[in-house]
Symmetry: C2
Subunit: 493 residues, 2 copies
């Protein structure tokens, strides 16, 4: 018997043999009661070990497709021994499907936690998500939408510009950025499907599998998932309350020759820390010396509740060193999926081309509506209101933590953003806490999601303080305290 | 003098030297009148040829940054010899920017044509684009939008489902597909940002740089641009009026071991041909035998004006062999940016994950509005109306071609879709015709855009017959005839 085998394939040889025989049996090419070759003979014919053939036969036997007779050999079983209603129609996946599966299974875990099925709380309080949807300006947004459809009609529903997006929105963004000290020209602004797409496009243009990317450790979990999906080598730079540590960074730059440095300088996700002004200047200088592009993710720079604004890294850029990305999602409505990036130099045209081949353009209607909404001044007003509300909620959560959590739970009060980052008492795992918290009725993001090496994050968890009212926050943290005490005293079961 | 050089970089060594010296001069590290090392000495110090150093110095001299004195050597020029107002602030791009540029320049041309600047016609007629925006159902769409915002409120503006998109829309799509013979489950449908993103996600999951992709030759130009941007090796399969030629295909499968076969079986873009029923069956069998995934792009399968529908390749798939993609863009409003793909087997989960890391999700509001619009039956009505209108326009264009173009212009009347594909008289180039056509006031897509090897397409051009009224079509084709006669008789200039 000749079975085509691919020695290069990530699909194990025994699976390839088993798949071939399964297909032949199901297709009727190997009739019932046909005697299969002896394992020794088939192993010799195929140039594989006898164990490989044995494994293939064992899989087929356990699925009832073949049976073995002691001392005689293996035979094809009579067709369809079970009533048809009990069986799924048997699909034999093509080899490329199995390869895709094998690659997915061999890649590092993207989320190391699995939440066991426990009774769900009837009214859980979730400290996850991005902002409080109850404060989304739905009515104002709807008015802007109506204005655009009446004003622009069909023009709002054809493709937008392929050269970077809807021009007036790009101009509006440069005005918003000017208030943060970034002098950008509309020609340097590319509209993206949220800042997540900005990250993906930068990776696509600058990186190839195996390249090294430096990230803060911890960092934004979906950025990690993106880097993993592209088979990049992720190296974490340690953080402190002033952002990423420059000294550690320089060593890593020398050691790893990274092709990208990804940083969230303001109200970092998840740690809440801000990169100090002096470190921002050092960062630009180092990136220049070591020829590393900086990707600056400013997902929540506008949401500042205390202290002074630091200049964006992009504002310190002498030209073409940093790529800046921002989004409207966190402050308005995430369902819009509009973000942007700012870049100059030869890279900009390549990012525009990458956007075009990836999805042609971002929804023209949504771009125009957003521009209408921001232009008429509602965006700034909404932002001021959000800051007032979220500051209160941050303070409510910090107070509740002091009241309800053990004193050896550590948190650095952030000056803005959306997140509190908790370090649990020693040897307490946020993954072990997760099912107990769910039972008590509170949800959070376990720390392991945010580290290049997930086990480094077991002692941490991230709370979003912006999505719940002060009353809900107090109740949620009380529940978290209960779950934590149950875990520590071991009274869970 | 020590200048750090990267021998591996795609940026030529002379450019690296020139860039380093330019930066040092502009930063004041090399003061005016400083004598630069002799070229022979610097070449020896850096281990490069003297020509390399000479080239670097020549660039700097032509920019006025250095000057040479015969028999003495090269000196740094006095700063800023021109008045400041005449000069752009000099930005020295980092090396990684130059590398990005070098890679872009060394990649194959994505559009080989350049339209020379000629006087523009005041009222050009464009046979480009995707559908006639004047027939977009703006009013009905707006009503659906209003319904969704009133019904769903905030729920329409938060992130949609990360597991494939808005569930009711996925169910609606399975009902639409069932009418075309495709039995899909909503769990096998992934909502994408237009079908372009479906193509990009499939590439991202299945392919790596250097992999071979088989395409019809000619094929959809932005698919070619995508494949080029991913550094895939593109091999064209010849087409005839019954779609891609199966005999040629089998040879190419044996020869190139492709990792993907991309096909547009219905009203192919740009040729308008339909893959015959028997070839569809042969295609699935071949893909199975050679372990190649099929990506079936059905961008306009619904727009049939004559003849019988063939089953989708996906409808013939015994399981997991083909990935199907469709879009609402061509029939409704391209500015919506909503498409979908259908896949089963292990690959589906990987496509969902690729979508998540690329842009999290497609606009929830647009997904819900589209579902509302399609569900209430308006989509089918709009489609019937579009087919009636576009059939008329196809016939009008074919008649105008017979009337106004030379008889040795060849066209196969398509049974549906949006495009006529014209073969020009021998030795007439559609690129040479382009500026004359622009002068006469008619626009088309030159054939070179659609071929893996652009020069193969010079004798062809693509006309979209759906975007203009019969009167505009007649006038546009008359103008095309004028331009063509001017080109053939040589009376242009």
């Amino acid at each position: 018997m000749r079975i085509p085998l691919d020695q290069q394939s990530p699909v194990p040889l025994y699976r390839q043999i088993e798949r071939y025989l399964r297909q032949s049996i199901l297709a009727g090419k190997l009739a019932a009661e046909t005697r299969l070759p002896a394992t020794r003979q088939l192993a010799q014919d195929l140039g594989v070990s006898r164990i490989t053939v044995n494994n293939a036969y064992a899989e087929l036997e356990s699925d009832g497709l073949i049976y073995t007779v002691e001392g005689s050999g293996a035979y094809v079983a009579p067709a369809n021994p079970l009533p048809a209603s009990n069986r799924e129609p048997a699909i034999v996946w093509p080899l490329w499907q199995l390869e895709a599966q094998a690659r997915a299974e061999s890649s590092p875990e993207t989320s190391s936690e699995r939440i066991p099925q426990r009774p769900r709380h009837p009214h859980p309080i979730a400290f996850t998500g991005v902002g409080d949807p109850r404060h989304f300006p739905v009515h104002d947004f709807y008015k802007a939408l109506k204005t655009v459809l009446h004003r622009d009609g069909i023009a709002a529903l054809v493709y937008g510009g392929f050269d970077g997006g809807y021009r007036p929105l790009r101009e509006t963004i440069t005005h918003m950025l000017a208030s943060q000290g970034i002098q950008a020209h509309p020609d340097q602004v590319l509209i993206t499907a949220g800042s997540q797409q900005a990250l993906a496009l930068v990776c696509q243009v600058l990186l190839k599998p195996g390249d090294v990317v430096l990230v803060e450790s911890p960092t934004y979990n979906v950025a990690l998932d993106l880097f993993r999906s592209l088979a990049l080598k992720i190296i974490g730079v340690p953080l402190d309350e002033n952002g990423l540590q420059i000294q550690g960074l320089e060593m890593l730059l020398q050691q790893h020759h990274p092709r990208l440095l990804y940083t969230i300088p303001n109200f970092q996700n998840p740690s809440g820390s801000c990169l100090s002004g002096i470190r921002r200047r050092q960062l630009i200088a180092l990136a220049d010396r070591y020829n590393v592009p900086i990707l600056e993710d400013d997902f929540a720079g506008d949401l500042r509740y205390d202290g002074r604004t630091q200049p964006a890294i992009k504002a310190l850029d002498p030209g073409g060193r940093a790529i800046y990305t921002g989004t409207f999602s966190k402050m308005l409505m995430p369902g819009l999926r509009v973000g942007f990036l700012v870049a100059e130099g030869p890279i900009f045209g390549r990012l525009v081309e990458a956007k075009r081949v990836n999805d042609l353009a971002t929804s023209n209607l949504i771009q125009r509506t957003l521009d209408e909404y921001v232009t008429i001044g509602r965006y700034q007003a909404h932002l001021r209101r959000s800051c007032r509300i979220y500051r209160q909620r941050r303070d409510a959560m910090l107070a509740a933590i002091r009241r309800y959590l053990p004193s050896d739970v550590h948190v650095n009060p952030p000056k803005g953003g959306l997140f509190l980052w908790l370090r649990l008492p020693e040897k307490v795992s946020s993954l072990a806490l997760l099912p107990l918290a769910a039972e008590e009725g509170v949800e959070y993001a376990p720390g392991s999601r945010f580290f290049p090496n997930p086990v480094d994050g077991e002692g941490f968890l991230r709370l979003n303080f912006a999505t719940q009212t002060p009353e809900e926050i107090e109740e949620g943290i009380r529940r978290l305290g209960m779950a934590l005490r149950r875990l520590i005293t071991g009274s869970h079961g």
